[in-house]
């Protein structure tokens, strides 16, 4: 039910956590563009590691 709900929700009703986002000082002093890139790299890294593990198990 929950997964179905999340997948099927109309775009207008999807939970938008960013709308009241209050940007605070970043501990690393990174600008937002740099943070976004770091997060992208982290996601890609996790994906790659998982892929390697999956292949290794196969």
């Amino acid at each position: 039910m929950a997964k179905k709900a999340a997948q099927k929700l109309s775009a207008a009703l999807v939970f938008r956590k960013e709308w009241i986002f209050d940007p605070g000082p970043d501990v690393l002093g990174l600008n937002r563009a740099a943070l976004a890139k770091v997060n992208q790299l982290k996601t890609a890294f996790t994906k790659n590691v998982n892929e390697v593990i999956k292949q290794g198990q196969g």
Binding site: L9, A12, L13, F15, R16, K17, P23, V27, G29
Partner: protein, 549 residues
């Protein structure tokens, strides 16, 4: 010395101030755009009234894109709006990228930090040609006029610049006396929305009469000539709201006033007139609004009236639950007043949120525990998530000056910091950040606090802008249970850690386990939320006039 441009001339779209203007090249304004940037919006409107084409650029864009835009439009002037001191380094990088990218426009910067600390700003970012100090509407027009026609601009009031290695400030320009003479801010962007309801920021006043020691707002307004707090006419504010509602479909207004006009008999009268105007314009029931205030202005009768007129969310800077902390922060308020305000808002079923500083320069382990007890008192029931931060000593604040005097200021302009009186508190804070991912729990998009706060905002919006939803009471109860669980866990961790560092008690918390708990809370919350919204999708979409998927 030149006389400033009369604001009325700007308001009336006066084509020329008598000293010439070349509008053939555009102006580029760069700033933070989240939730709309009213400061840039007002500057844009004023410049456009004077005939300038203005391009507003989001600072969060890829810097290469910003350089590319500047190359394409070849602006006569680029104005950088710095609203957070800790971004000064990032802005400096962008400014350097623009210069090394061959952009030769006049570079200027405005905002609280550049206004109050223009010497440091010009030193950190030497590529800047000038700083526009304090309220910038008239100064920026005059500066652009001078630069566009090649005239000398160094004697324009309200600016600062470097000459022969020395930072020089011209006399400060008076604050805008009559805010209603300003055009409405430019809002040429797609508004944010929550549950399909569009949101816009708006201003009813500028300035703050209070004197909190950690805040630079009052020093910003005190440093310039003119009345510190100016309010718009209630009818003018409501006229703008009505226009935005009718023309743009805006139903949620976020008042961004430094301190919404409620303090003292004059401003209470203002607030009552504002409520009357909303009713006269038949806006209650169609729009809702949020405002920021202090706890000592919360009173039953007025807040009930405002609630009936659409007030749905009250932000209060409570800041401390310790009398010593409140004194240090010069809040001129008591813990009891803070608690009373919270209780009153709860009793009239008005949603609220709060700012809170767990640690400040006067902190001790005792005050930390007082603060935790206070947080348990106000949100232990799960009505809102726990949130807190550590006070940071920003430029222009009395508390930073005091820390300098006492030799406790540390860090730099990008990361201002200070020594605690009890050095073990620094270890405690470091321990806290390593056990609880403070950014993951309190700050940032993935934070529990942010997501649960947003969920409570949604509940308030659902309750005020949608018809009664089946299952709402159960969902609210569930959300309260999840929030209570999260609060209990977080407060327990902080308290246990305080004893670890003060009394040497064993730390029972393992970072990985805490992180797992955080993730489980978030998963449980989003599952419940999506299931509830999905069940009510048809009703919600019908109100929004959208077809059901």
């Amino acid at each position: 010395m030149r006389q400033p441009i009369p604001l009325r001339a700007i308001q009336q779209g006066h084509p020329d101030t008598g000293r010439g203007r070349d509008t053939s090249r555009p102006v580029m304004l760069v700033g933070f755009q989240h939730q709309g940037n009213l400061g840039l919006g007002y500057l844009t409107s004023v410049l456009r009234q004077c005939g300038y084409d203005v391009r507003v650029v989001d600072i969060e864009q890829d810097p290469e894109e910003i350089v590319k835009t500047a190359r394409e439009i070849n602006p006569v002037l680029i104005g950088f709006s710095l609203i957070f001191q800790f971004y000064v380094g990032g802005y400096g990088e962008l400014v350097r990228s623009l210069r090394t990218g061959g952009i030769r426009s006049h570079f200027t910067m405005g905002g609280h930090f550049p206004s109050l600390s223009y010497e440091q700003t010009l030193e950190i970012i030497p590529e800047l040609d000038s700083v526009v100090r304090f309220e910038g509407e008239s100064t920026l027009v005059e500066l652009t006029d001078a630069v566009s026609t090649g005239r000398d601009w160094h004697d324009i009031p309200g600016i600062a610049f470097v000459r022969e290695g020395q930072a020089i400030a011209t006399p400060a320009r008076p604050l805008v006396e009559d805010l209603d003479l300003l055009p409405y801010p430019e809002r040429n962007y797609q508004p944010d929305a929550v549950l399909g309801r569009s949101i816009m920021p708006i201003l009813a006043s500028r300035g703050c009469a209070r004197t909190c020691s950690f805040c630079s707002i009052h020093t910003f307004y005190r440093a310039a000539p003119g009345r510190m707090v100016r309010t718009r006419k209630p009818a003018e504010v409501v006229r703008e709201m009505r226009m935005l509602h009718e023309e743009r479909g805006i139903t949620i207004f976020l008042f961004q006033d430094d301190d919404f006009p409620l303090f003292g008999p004059v401003w209470r009268r203002w607030a009552n007139e504002f409520v009357d105007e909303l009713h006269r314009n038949h806006l209650p029931g169609k729009v809702i609004w949020k405002m920021n205030c202090r706890a000592d202005v919360v009173e039953r009768e007025l807040f009930l009236r405002m609630r009936e007129a659409g007030l749905y969310l009250v932000y209060m800077g409570l800041e401390s639950g310790s009398e010593q902390g409140l004194k240090t922060l010069h809040k001129q308020i008591t813990v009891e007043q803070n608690v009373r305000a919270v209780d009153l808002l709860k009793s009239i079923d008005l949603m609220w949120e709060y700012g809170f500083m767990l640690l400040d320069p006067s902190s001790t382990f005792e005050s930390v525990r007082e603060n935790l007890a206070f947080l348990r008192t106000i949100v232990g029931d799960g009505c809102l998530p726990v949130t807190f931060c550590r006070m940071l000593p920003y430029d222009g604040t009395p508390i930073k000056d005091e820390l300098v005097r006492s030799g406790r200021l540390r860090g730099d302009v990008n990361n201002p910091d200070y020594d605690f009186l009890d050095p073990r508190l620094a270890d405690f804070y470091e321990g806290l950040t390593s056990v609880v991912n403070v950014r993951g729990w309190i700050h940032g998009l993935e934070a529990v606090t942010l997501q649960l706060s947003t969920a409570w905002h949604e509940v308030a919006v659902m309750g005020r802008l949608f018809p009664s939803l089946p299952g709402m009471a159960t969902y609210t109860k569930t959300l309260r249970r999840i929030t209570r669980k999260s609060n209990h866990l977080l407060l327990g961790i902080v308290e246990d850690l305080s004893y670890t560092f003060s009394d040497g008690k064993e730390n029972p918390w393992v970072p990985e386990e805490v992180e797992d708990s955080r993730k489980r809370i978030l998963e449980e919350f989003i599952t419940e939320r999506d299931a509830f919204v999905y069940k009510n999708e048809a009703i919600l979409l019908e109100v929004l006039g959208q077809p059901c998927s």
